[in-house]
Every structure is written in C-alpha cells, then in structure tokens.
C-alpha cells in the first residue's frame, strides 16, 4: 500500500463526493425505502443510509434479477406470410460505469464467489463480465458487527477488501478511504481529498480491529466439505435441519453469493426477449422435470443442496473457498429464523450413533 493512497473524506464531504461521482456514473447508494434499506441511484437530495446493513446486498447491480439476454423477432413477408424469419439480437449491458458506494465488505466479497463461475470457466458469461468490469465498489468497513454476522468464518472481516475497489474506514468523524484497485484509486481521486493523517489511519485500524474482535470467534471449518458430503444420504439429519424451513427464497435472493438462475422467454406478438432471472434452489420447481420427476422433491433435499453447494461442492470445485460471505442476511431475513451457521456446525459436530 502506497502511503499517499490513503485519503480522508470528512463526513460532510461524502455527499459532495457522491454528487461528483454521479455526474459521470450511476452511483448506487443505500437509501431508506419504506422500512428497508436499498441500493438506489443517487439523485440530488438522496439521503445515504449507512448505519444499517442494507436489506439486500448490491448483487443486482452486477447480476440483475432480470437480465435480458437477447431480443428476438419474427419478421414476416406480407406477400408470403407463411415464410417468417427469425432475428436474434444480443443485448449486452452498456459500458457505462456504475459505482456502488456504501456496501459492506461482505457485499462486495460476494462477487468473488461469482467470478470463478461466471468469469473463469470454460464458458464465460458476457453479461456478468461486462457489468463486473464496469462496476466499482466502495465498501464501508463495519464498525458494529451484528448478531448474524459471521464473515470471519468464511475468510472475510469487517474491513475485508476482497471484491472491493475502495474501502471506507470510519475514523475521526469521517472516513479513511483506502483504494484497493486502480479503478478505486481513480474514483477516490474524483473527490480531491486530502491525505489521511497518521492519526486518522491509526484510528481507522483500531476501529476495524475492534469490530473484528466483536465478532464471535470463527470455528474451524476445514473438515466441513467432506463432512457434508458424508451426510448426503442421511436424510433424517436434513429433515431435522429443514423442519422449520418454508421453502421460500428470502435466503437465496438476499444472498450476495447465490447465483442460480432461470432462463425463460417472454413475448408479445412477433417480438420477445429471452431473460435470465434469479432462481431459487429452495423451490420445488427448480429441478422439477417436464416428465414430473423431481430429483429434489422435499425441502430437506433442497436445503441439503443449498448448504451443500455453499459449504461442500463449491469449495471442492473452487480451491476450498466457501460460497458464502457471512453477511447473515439469510439468517435475519428468514421468517422462521433458520440459521445456516447452526446447520454447518451441526454437520461438523454430527456423530454417527
């Protein structure tokens, strides 16, 4: 880290910076909407809501809930209406830059789970890649971890920089801005901030450390992937874990790392589009086949796949990294208070009788 990189943004300078950024980019900032906090485009007069963890993570900015993959049109020759030709038009996202400002480090970290799948495999996802490339994350380090936070279990932390371009560290009545990437550096430059003083830097580090200390200690999870694999056929275990689950999608749709999707066509008249939309592995229909067969007909089997994917299959395929950023939204947004930490620990501690 080059010392001169660290800048200080006083609290009252923040909205000016955002305003400045929003001249050239779409800037999504957490704002109060009803009783929720959402990432909404910054407009003049928008009030930033930075005290609460946003209700939904910034996932949709890079992986929108509905992505139009292509448009299609049947063209007809009025002289020969029986001969219609098909036109397909690829609809890649534009190249405009989007800045996400005020997400938590875990929210940005979520994309590090996407990247190996959408941007590094045999098949590259051009929609994801285009958006990923053109999105800059300015993450706000956490001062007060919540009861549901467990980023430290999965390799993150209150001031984790993975996936972020700039880290905003609360200090001295403002924020120490720590660029993580070149993109981040450019963004910070826009603000024309003064360098952060050593005192400010020390305070920022101290507060980050304090926050980390406030997290409950992370358990050892190394054996979990194998353990879950072993438990696969123990349906009793999964039925117990899933008893209170109601198979809704609150956990998956609010998860910064869940990337399962559906593809479907919608049309009107001769035109239509093929869209990609978030899908929910907890839904019975997710794997329901046209024949009526369903490999995962019960919620226990579906929960097994969800937890298995995050804590076993994904790490086995991707260098032991868990497909979870520990943000805790699945826990606190669950209407029935299903706690994924409890499931993982139960699996870890499960002993065959």
């Amino acid at each position: 880290m080059v010392m001169g990189d660290l800048k200080f943004c006083p609290k009252e300078g923040l909205s000016r910076w955002v305003e400045e950024l929003s001249r050239e980019h779409t800037v999504l900032v957490p704002q109060q909407a009803g009783d929720a906090v959402e990432f909404l485009p910054f407009a003049e007069g928008s009030e930033l809501s930075l005290d609460r963890q946003p209700t939904a993570p910034p996932k949709k900015s890079v992986f929108p809930q509905t992505e139009t993959l292509m448009r299609f049109e049947y063209q007809k020759d009025p002289e020969h209406p029986d001969r219609q030709t098909l036109q397909i038009k690829e609809t890649l996202p534009g190249k405009e830059k989007t800045v996400i400002l005020g997400c938590r480090p875990c929210g940005a970290r979520g994309f590090s789970v996407f990247d190996p799948v959408f941007g590094q495999g045999e098949y590259l996802d051009p929609y994801y890649q285009a958006r990923r490339e053109h999105t800059v994350f300015v993450s706000l380090a956490c001062r007060h971890p919540e009861n549901t936070c467990f980023c430290n279990w999965v390799g993150g932390g209150p001031a984790d920089s993975a996936g972020s371009d700039v880290l905003m560290l609360p200090a001295g009545g403002g924020y120490v801005l720590r660029p993580v990437t070149d993109q981040g550096r450019q963004i910070v430059e826009v603000g024309g901030f003064e360098d952060a003083s050593p005192e400010q830097q020390t305070e920022a580090d101290r507060l980050a450390e304090e926050a980390a200390e406030n997290l409950s200690p992370a358990p050892e999870l190394e054996e979990v992937p194998d353990k879950l694999f072993e438990l696969f056929e123990n349906l009793d275990f999964w039925e117990l874990m899933a008893a209170k689950c109601i198979s809704c999608g609150a956990c998956t749709y609010l998860c910064p790392t869940c990337y399962c999707f559906n593809i479907s066509d919608e049309y009107s008249g001769l035109q239509g589009k093929r869209i990609r939309t978030w899908d929910n592995c907890m839904s019975n229909l997710f794997t329901h086949e046209a024949s009526g067969h369903n490999p995962r007909p019960t919620k226990a089997q579906r929960l097994r796949n969800r937890v298995g994917h995050k804590f076993s299959y994904y790490p086995k395929l991707h260098e032991q990294v868990f497909a979870c950023c520990g943000c805790g939204r699945c826990i606190k947004s669950c209407p029935m208070s299903v706690d994924i930490r409890e499931i993982v620990l139960s699996a870890k501690e499960y002993a065959d009788e």
Binding site: R52, N147, S264
Partner: protein, 319 residues
C-alpha cells in the same frame, strides 16, 4: 409466562401419543424466537412463550398431514387452525392444540425503529407491559403496546377458536385489541394517484422470494402456485412491478374469505412491504358483504364458495 411450566408438563405427558409438538424456542439471537419441533423431553425444555414468539405455527400443519401433531397456539393462531379444519386441509383427530393465552407480540420492524439495528441487541426482557432492550450503546425501556404488530390492533381475541388444553396466567389480560386499522385508514386518506404511487413504490422493492406466500397458513397450492407456472402463464418471470403487483392480487384474491389476518405475509417480507393491508381490506369488505369472519367457525362455508340468490348487501348497479 407462569404457565410455561404447566405447559411443558402437559406436552411431556402427551408427547408419547404424538409424532411431534410444534412450539417456539429461543432463536439465534435475543430478539428472535424460532419454531421448535419437539420430539424429545429435552427439546421440550427449550420451549419458550414470550412476545418474541411471533411465528404462526399453524402454517406447518398442512405439510404434516398424516402425522399426529401437537401445536402451541395463541388465540389468533387458532383462527388459522379453524380455517384449515374448515377447508379439510388438516384433520381434527390428528391435532392436539395447546392453547396459550397470548403474551403479546413484538413487531420487530417497530422495535428496530425504536432501538436501531436489531443485530446489535444484547438482551431483551419483558415485565408486564414494559420491555427493556439493551444494546452496546444504551438501554431502552419501551411500552409493549407500542411495539404490537398491526394485526394485534384490529381484532381482540379473548378465547381460542378451539383448544384441547388451555393455559392462562392468573389475572392475565388480553393484549390485542380492536382499534381503527391505522394502515388502511392512512391509505384511504390518500387520493387515488397517491395510493397508486404508494403501491408502485412499495411493491417495486419486492424480490419475488415468495416468503409471504410460503409462510401463509392458508396457501394450499404451495408448490403448484400459479405464480411459478407457464401453463397457466399468469405471471412472467420478469421482475417489473406489474408482475409483483399482480402476484399480490393473486394471493389476496385466493385468500379472499379465507385469510385469517395472521399477518405472517407482512412479517415474513424481508423487504418490509405492507402487504397485509390488501388482505385486510378484502376481509373488511367480506365482513360487510357477507357478515363473515374466516376461521371462527369450523363448520362455516367460506363466502366465495357459496352464494345467495338474493344478496342482501350487494346493490346491483343499474347500467
């Protein structure tokens, strides 16, 4: 609640005859309770009954059809049970109702408005109408009445619709009460354009997770919901506000005359969308039109599954 010991004893007594007893236990943090599926005496020990026990456990009953199930239920929860029985979605013989006098309930959104992020609450305790909440920064003393969910302020339930065993503390008062429906009143004071904008704005937040549907005890379709099918193709997979709005209307209309106003849909909504208001409006109209309140009479016929050749309350508009 003082009756909890007695309740535990009774569940212990009945457990050998039952496959499972559903109650509540402490959840992952001080402010969250969680459904408990009790099959062993040890699990019964974890049972709690306090104003944080907000889930309507009746929602699990249709999924457990065929099993002998015991359920701990507040008065309002028994209304949902009544409706399920009325529609033959569950069997009375399979059911044992441990009816508890409601200790009141905490709307966590309202609590959050008072004390800030719930994730920072260290402890919460109840002493009659007083609620004491501790966070690292401060300690607040709140009035339980102010924290009641909206659903507890529109109807007073003194007695359960049905019960096998009843648990009430001496001198325990009914906490819920019948007052004006403030959400609906506020909405109806807006002009039409404002109401349209109100819903468009709120529903835009919807993420189509269907927590509202899946938590609803009266949603019989579950895996077969028309929100998810292409035949019929009522909704597209798109996430524009029309689809979201249409879904709410599908849910509301399918619940018309059946909704027991347990408020779980609104409570479950992770995006805090005030969707109960639509159902409540329909219930109010149903009451006015048909003098009917769902779930209160196990032998009644839901009003949309029957008719009168002369409808007293429907004025035929002459066109």
């Amino acid at each position: 609640m003082k009756y909890v010991a007695e309740l535990k004893a009774k569940i212990r007594e009945k457990l050998p005859e039952l496959d499972v007893v559903i109650g509540w236990k402490q959840g992952f943090d001080p402010v969250h309770a969680s459904p408990a599926f009790m099959t062993t005496p040890e699990e019964i020990e974890q049972l709690v009954v306090n104003p944080l026990c907000v889930q309507n456990l009746a929602t699990y009953l249709p999924g457990l059809k065929g099993k002998k199930v015991g359920i701990v239920a507040r008065e309002c929860d028994t209304r949902s049970i009544g409706e399920l029985l009325q529609e033959s979605l569950i069997e009375r013989e399979e059911l044992t109702v441990f009816s508890v006098k409601c200790p009141g309930a905490v709307d966590l959104v309202k609590l959050r408005q008072q004390v800030g992020d719930l994730g920072r609450v260290r402890s919460i305790s109840f002493d009659g109408p007083r609620v004491t909440v501790e966070t690292p920064d401060e300690s607040s003393s709140l009035d339980l009445g102010e924290l009641l969910p909206g659903k507890c302020r529109v109807m007073a339930y003194d007695e359960p619709v049905l019960a096998d065993f009843r648990f009430v503390d001496p001198d325990q008062d009914t906490v819920c009460r019948e007052e004006a429906d403030t959400d609906l009143v506020a909405l109806e004071q807006m002009d039409l354009d404002e109401r349209f904008a109100y819903w468009r704005g709120h529903l835009d937040r919807c993420i189509r997770c269907y927590a509202c549907r899946n938590v609803c005890p009266m949603c019989v379709c579950q895996d077969q919901c028309i929100a998810d099918t292409r035949d019929p193709h009522w909704l597209s997979a798109e996430t524009d506000v029309r689809q979201k709005w249409m879904f709410q209307l599908i849910h509301a209309m399918h619940l018309a005359g059946r909704c027991t106003e347990c408020g779980e849909c609104e409570r479950a909504c992770p995006m805090d969308i005030p969707i109960l208001t639509i159902r409540r409006k329909l219930n109010r109209e149903i009451h006015e039109l048909f003098g009917y309140t769902s779930g209160m009479d196990v032998d009644a016929v839901p009003p949309l599954l029957t008719f009168q050749p002369e409808e007293k309350s429907i004025t035929e508009r002459e066109w």
